[in-house]
């Protein structure tokens, strides 16, 4: 054993006591000082509000009446000194490689058009260098596009001046970064509050909303930690909380989970799906990982050499690859692994809590026109299922809770269960199959209509 050096020991003890004492004094002084500075803070909002900016525009709709949150039309980005020259060459049909070698320019994006619907997760996927990150950065103008348009909720975002651009960025959109992008000198609550600070909210409100966002991503208790104290997965939760704290309409996520190891990545994907089911943001998610794209994406755009090769739902892309490039990409995927309950499950629209009374249950079931419904407890564990006949009887016998009439012995599957097995269970039952994790926490349900789609894809092979 090494003897502890006495001088150092005294010094360390002194250090700890002093720091504790100073923190106490700081805590006392901070309140009044903060209040004073908050009251005397210069308010410099001469600029417009986002309401004024969006006042005259109307959000376009697609054929089915969905709102188009982002419309990208013939967007191009040329890096280099003479973009016009490169555009002309592209119009004449030269390839990206020819321009790269023949001129001082390089092509980031060429003639990209697509719509992102309100409330969907839109995945941009491609190999590195395919232009997916460039495209995302052109959509929030971290990179200025060379030509083309981006409409945000109908507003011509590409022509906004600096001031208006800042306002729209502050209030309507936010971003999650590959390497988290946490400010190393701020603790977690103030990192999360960064966007709110830019919005000019007073400190008390900032911290309150920051707390809510931190709770949402499951990091309660870490408000005062520094980023360097957290693991990768936790850091990205902070990144996500920061992006959600301003309550934006649009979330840009750039390879957000790519720096995490596979298990954590999986957790984060589940977390994002859970949060998305609660908040329903419009999310543009960039990834190079097909599994991730299939898991998260409501629709997927596959990119190659600065152009979009194919856009569609996961099943469509798996079933009908547009060209050799896409089918090569898709072949990497083990289909039996992909066609799992986890991929096809949806959030159930209606749920009952086991603590609810039969009367409430009956009302909910009548309103949603259903004669059976899943029951969960307060911590989202699946308890079972109730049938409307039983509920009706319970109401008549003035029973207080659902727990007596719940059918606990019902089939449930895990997210990794192949769809083929799910379908086998489904033919013997008449209700949607719940998907639960190993702790019986309800993740979603697979409905018969969705299962039917699987059959058509499965029939391919």
């Amino acid at each position: 054993m090494m003897r502890k050096r006495p001088v150092k020991a005294v010094d360390d003890m002194f250090h700890d006591r002093l720091v504790a004492g100073m923190d106490k004094i700081k805590a006392r002084v901070r309140g009044p000082v903060k209040r004073f500075t908050e009251e005397h803070r210069p308010r410099s909002h001469g600029g417009r509000t986002s309401e004024e900016i969006f006042e005259e525009v109307e959000c376009p709709m697609d054929g089915e009446g969905n709102q188009i949150m982002i419309r990208v039309s013939s967007l191009s980005k040329i890096f280099g000194k003479h973009p016009e020259e490169a555009i002309k060459m592209l119009e004449q049909g030269h390839t990206k490689a020819e321009i790269q070698n023949g001129t001082p320019n390089s092509v980031g994006l060429y003639d990209v058009s697509f719509d992102v619907m309100k409330g969907e997760i839109f995945v941009l996927m491609g190999l590195s260098g395919s232009g997916k990150s460039t495209l995302e950065r052109c959509m929030n103008r971290l990179i200025e596009p060379t030509s083309g348009e981006v409409l945000i909720g109908g507003l011509d975002f590409t022509s906004l001046d600096e001031e208006d651009l800042r306002i729209v960025r502050r209030e309507k959109m936010s971003m999650v970064f590959q390497n988290f992008g946490l400010l190393p000198h701020r603790d977690i609550k103030n990192n999360v509050a960064y966007g709110l600070e830019m919005q000019g909210l007073p400190e008390a409100e900032r911290l309150e909303r920051s707390k809510t966002a931190i709770d949402l991503v499951g990091l309660s208790g870490y408000e005062n930690s520094m980023p360097s104290d957290l693991s990768g997965g936790m850091k990205q939760r902070v990144g996500l909380a920061r992006a959600l704290a301003t309550d934006p309409d649009i979330l840009f996520m750039d390879e957000a989970f790519s720096a995490l190891d596979p298990l954590i990545r999986n957790d984060m994907q589940d977390e994002l799906i859970k949060i998305q089911s609660e908040l329903g943001k419009t999310i543009v998610f960039v990834t190079h990982d097909l599994d991730e794209a299939l898991k998260l994406g409501d629709r997927i755009a596959l990119m190659k050499d600065g152009r979009i090769v194919q856009i569609g739902r996961a099943e469509e892309i798996l079933q009908n690859p547009a060209d050799e490039y896409v089918s090569r990409f898709v072949r990497e995927v083990d289909r039996t692994k992909i066609l799992t309950a986890g991929l096809f499950m949806r959030r159930p629209r209606h749920l009952l809590y086991v603590t609810q009374g039969p009367r409430t249950a009956l009302k909910i079931m009548e309103e949603s026109d259903r004669n059976n419904m899943l029951v969960i407890d307060r911590r989202n564990h699946l308890v079972g299922m109730v049938e409307s006949d039983d509920v009706l009887r319970a109401v008549q016998s003035r029973s207080e809770s659902l727990s007596d009439i719940v059918i606990r012995d019902m089939p449930a599957v895990g997210p990794e269960t192949p769809m083929s097995e799910v379908i086998q269970i489904m033919v013997t039952t008449y209700f949607p199959i719940p998907v639960v994790d190993e702790n019986r926490v309800l993740l979603g349900v697979v409905s018969p209509s969705v299962a039917a789609e699987t059959l058509s894809i499965g029939g391919d092979e």
Binding site: F14, M22, M173, S174, F177, L183, E197, M198, T246
Partner: protein
């Protein structure tokens, strides 16, 4: 030996500045005299023991430790005991004021260099010039402009000690990861918010290293400044040199070393803090 046209040009330039911008120089001298006199008065009127007590107190608050502040107190008591207190205070005054002025000029200059690709090479060349031009050379125009005394010494010190702050501020801000700048932009920060809330805090360790270097360089200038009447410990050393007095020279030199180590440890504790 005759100077070439380059040397004569420099001479003419100095003449022109003296002739037509004399009022500006006087103004500059007056402005510089304000902190010099204020701090100088404070340091010279303060009882040495009281000063040491205050210094130890400040050190405790800065380092949050006990042993180092006590050693600092002992170091200053040693300076007092050797009989160099007044000289040490004069030197400390010059170093602190020179550092303050240097930082006030250098940090904005460094930020400018980091943000402008046009300014950067110009500032870089200027810094090379300032840092490598032998320090004695500044003394010539400094004496012409400001006469003998403390002010020209401080001016020469500022010029000599400024470059590391400019360089390290520039470097620190340029080394802020691209992603951090994107974070600032993506959440709608203004240029000023981006600078003050993202770039400067992230560059702070680098800037503090520059300030630390600046203090060390200022101290190394005290002897040179003493040659034009700066006084202080440098004056003692120059005197010792002229009399070939080993004892006096060593003691004054030791006092400079002790002040240097004190200031170094204190600024480093700042750096570790952030």
């Amino acid at each position: 030996m005759m100077a070439s046209p380059i040397g004569r040009f420099a001479e003419d330039l100095v003449d022109v500045i003296e002739q037509y911008f004399g009022w500006l120089l006087t103004l500059f001298k007056d402005i510089l005299s304000i902190p010099l006199e204020a701090l100088g008065d404070l340091l010279s009127y303060l009882d040495p023991m009281l000063f040491i007590a205050i210094l130890v107190g400040i050190s405790v608050l800065l380092t949050r430790r006990l042993v180092l502040p006590l050693l600092i107190g002992a170091a200053f008591y040693l300076i007092y005991w050797m009989g160099y207190w007044n000289s040490a205070m004069v030197t400390l005054n010059m170093v602190l004021v020179a550092t303050l002025v240097a930082v006030l000029i250098a940090v904005p200059l460094g930020i400018w260099a980091a943000r402008s690709e046009t300014a950067n090479p110009v500032i870089k060349a200027l810094m090379d010039f300032m840092q490598t031009m032998p320090a004695f050379v500044y003394l010539i125009p400094a004496v012409i402009f400001f006469g003998l005394g403390v002010v020209p010494g401080v001016v020469a010190t500022v010029i000599f000690a400024m470059p590391p702050v400019v360089r390290l501020t520039n470097l620190g801000i340029r080394q802020v990861p691209v992603e951090m700048n994107e974070v600032a932009d993506a959440f709608g920060s203004t240029g000023w918010q981006k600078l003050t809330k993202v770039q400067i805090p992230i560059a702070m360790p680098s800037i503090m290293a520059g300030i630390n270097q600046c203090i060390m360089l200022s101290l190394s200038m005290v002897v040179i400044a003493a040659m034009i009447g700066g006084g202080g410990l440098g004056g003692d050393i120059v005197y010792a040199l002229s009399r070939v007095d080993v004892a006096l020279g060593f003691e004054a030199g030791l006092a400079v070393v002790l002040i240097a180590m004190t200031l170094d440890r204190l600024t480093q504790s700042f750096k570790n803090d952030t």
